[in-house]
Symmetry: C2
Subunit: 373 residues, 2 copies
């Protein structure tokens, strides 16, 4: 915290560059492809008049008044139908996918582009640190975006926002061992909280129904990730983040748990929290400091016949693939960059959501996969 603060004093967090990118559906009428579920007329009606559109919704077209187009003094978005429901696609609910990005993995981008949820209802938001590595990621992301947003209509996303932060992340190395060192972890996750908050506060719009937090190193999910997760109709729902690896014992590819931040408390873990100093935090996944929590990562049924809709209530959640009803964020739930009930970042977010009266859940048998570094 001390390091983080002193950095902030000299370089207070400001966003120095934001790109708001979007391709409207103006030329839809000429397009050879179409989405079965949405008629050509519907998509045309929904199209933005301007290729730039707000993060969450294309503009309504202005009314033609006689010969010349007069700007209307008052224009309404009728949002009586703004819902976040188990039938998200059918209700045309808009999803905001938010990703803090310090490295660009083509696996992440390809997986994202395979999402079957109608892309015209998906907006993307990225925040990229202002480092050499971040610059490279920014370039790679832009090339990828340009290609997709000028490709087939059905592949294009509703809008894309990129934010750059002008302060370096507290730990320069993204090397996995360095990144996970216990003493670095607190600083790293407080910095990550600020990045997530900047992204969230800047991109959430009036028409957003759901926010999907999807980490940049998640390279494989079911293509139906959005449909699957929204279908549970939960305020906060996290998938189980695993990793594929070559198992030297079996000489075969295998999977292992990766993200340990989704858990339920136990009497013993609560005792530990209660005995802590006000500014201490509990971190998961360090042998020298056991938390005695029940970890969702270790509750998975890995058998092929497992029930992927199995659900469990959680006290803490990880941020790797996390679906949140926009109303939870609008209530004020954010990622605390300071110890909040001895928790920070996504785990602190879960506590804050619960403090606001919402409940958090996880899908122990529904896997998403982390890049293997």
């Amino acid at each position: 915290m001390a390091l983080s603060r002193s950095l902030r004093r000299t370089n207070p967090i400001t966003i120095v560059l934001a790109g708001l990118l979007a391709i409207g559906f103006l030329f839809f009428i000429f397009s050879p492809t179409s989405t079965a579920a949405f008629t050509s007329q519907e998509r045309h009606d929904d199209a933005a008049q301007n290729p730039l559109s707000p993060p969450t919704k294309p503009f309504h077209k202005s009314q033609a008044a006689g010969n010349k187009r007069a700007p209307p003094p008052v224009v309404h978005y009728n949002m009586n139908n703004l819902t976040s429901s188990r039938d998200a696609a059918q209700n045309r609910e808009r999803i905001l996918v938010l990703t803090p990005l310090s490295r660009f993995y083509s696996g992440y981008w390809e997986n994202l582009n395979k999402f079957t949820y109608p892309h015209q209802y998906i907006s993307l938001g990225f925040i990229i640190p202002k480092t050499r590595e971040g610059n490279a990621a920014y370039s790679a992301l832009q090339s990828a975006i340009t290609k997709v947003q000028s490709g087939p209509i059905d592949d294009r996303f509703a809008s894309i926002t990129i934010l750059r932060q002008d302060f370096p992340p507290p730990i320069q190395s993204q090397d996995e061992k360095e990144r996970h060192k216990l003493e670095n972890q607190k600083i790293r996750r407080e910095s990550m909280s600020r990045a997530r908050n900047s992204l969230l506060f800047t991109t959430l719009g009036p028409a957003t129904s759901w926010v999907l937090w999807l980490d940049a190193d998640i390279v494989e999910t079911p293509p139906t990730l959005i449909e699957d997760m929204t279908s549970h109709d939960k305020a906060v729902l996290v998938a189980n983040c695993y990793q594929r690896f070559f198992n030297p014992d079996t000489k075969e590819m295998d999977i292992r748990p990766y993200d340990y931040n989704s858990w339920t408390d136990t009497p013993r873990s609560l005792d530990i929290a209660n005995s802590m100093g006000r500014d201490e935090i509990m971190l998961e996944g360090y042998g020298e400091l056991p938390t005695y929590r029940n970890l969702m990562a270790l509750s998975a049924d890995r058998s092929p016949e497992r029930n992927t809709r199995e659900i469990m209530e959680l006290d803490g959640v990880g941020g790797t693939a996390l679906m949140v009803k926009a109303a939870v964020h609008r209530d004020g739930a954010m990622f605390p960059p300071f110890p909040f009930y001895h928790l920070v970042e996504s785990e602190g977010f879960a506590k804050m959501a619960r403090r606001l009266g919402w409940k958090c859940y996880g899908l122990p048998n529904y896997f998403v996969y982390h890049y293997n570094e």
Copy 2:
């Protein structure tokens, strides 16, 4: 909290109606008026192509490519100059004025319209409860907006967003005595926190430099309010909220303190907080429960020759006329709807901002005036 929560379970907070209203500056060239500080060409260049614009910034015009306008695949907002500085107007910093509104006071609107800060850099955001009283306020606000946004160019605001919440506020009566009852105050301020958060998360955009929280019952401020407050270049700065009244003793109009939520802690007030149960909160302005804080309301010099730039550091701030650098909110500072260090709403916000490493200040001799009910 119990009442608030049970209301929320049956009617979870969702925004049921949002109007995004804006008049671009397309016709500036035909306008007979002009702002001295900004040339006609500059304002024309800055104009939105579409009469609808995002909450914080008009669109850049797309580039004409030969005969037909091609939507560019990638468009950048160059935001290297996004600052929040003491020379806000000169740096063309965009201000987002946010107002939770349950009654429409013409005094509020007239005062707002007299602001000398260039209106093309001011966006407005309102959140209105879905009650009978709220409906009336909504209608009145719309009429007022229509008039201003179709009036002289220089009077028009950059954009206006209205959100409706679909749950009734916990206390139906807005009668002053009822509203201030101690037992109602906690519930009321937790509900107000949710309203402020909804408004903030939904309207803050990538180009916002400052957020001015201005309550709907503030009917008189200096017209230079924005210039005056930004000129101090503080992360969080609150004006002193007073009220004009007829003094029966002197038989003359007089002023008296109104908002007691701006204060500094004392050893005695900290003792009280430390002795409280986890979910108890300290509220200001109730004789039966003294807090022993130093109140900014009582630190004012009311003499005509007072120094209105006098400044004091604060631990808690009121939300009646509160200027916040957008970076503070982007960091995650919001209005806690739950007890946060025994504080809620704007006072909890101040604590959260301080927890994030920012400092809060107040202007004891700089008055804004509350409606006299």
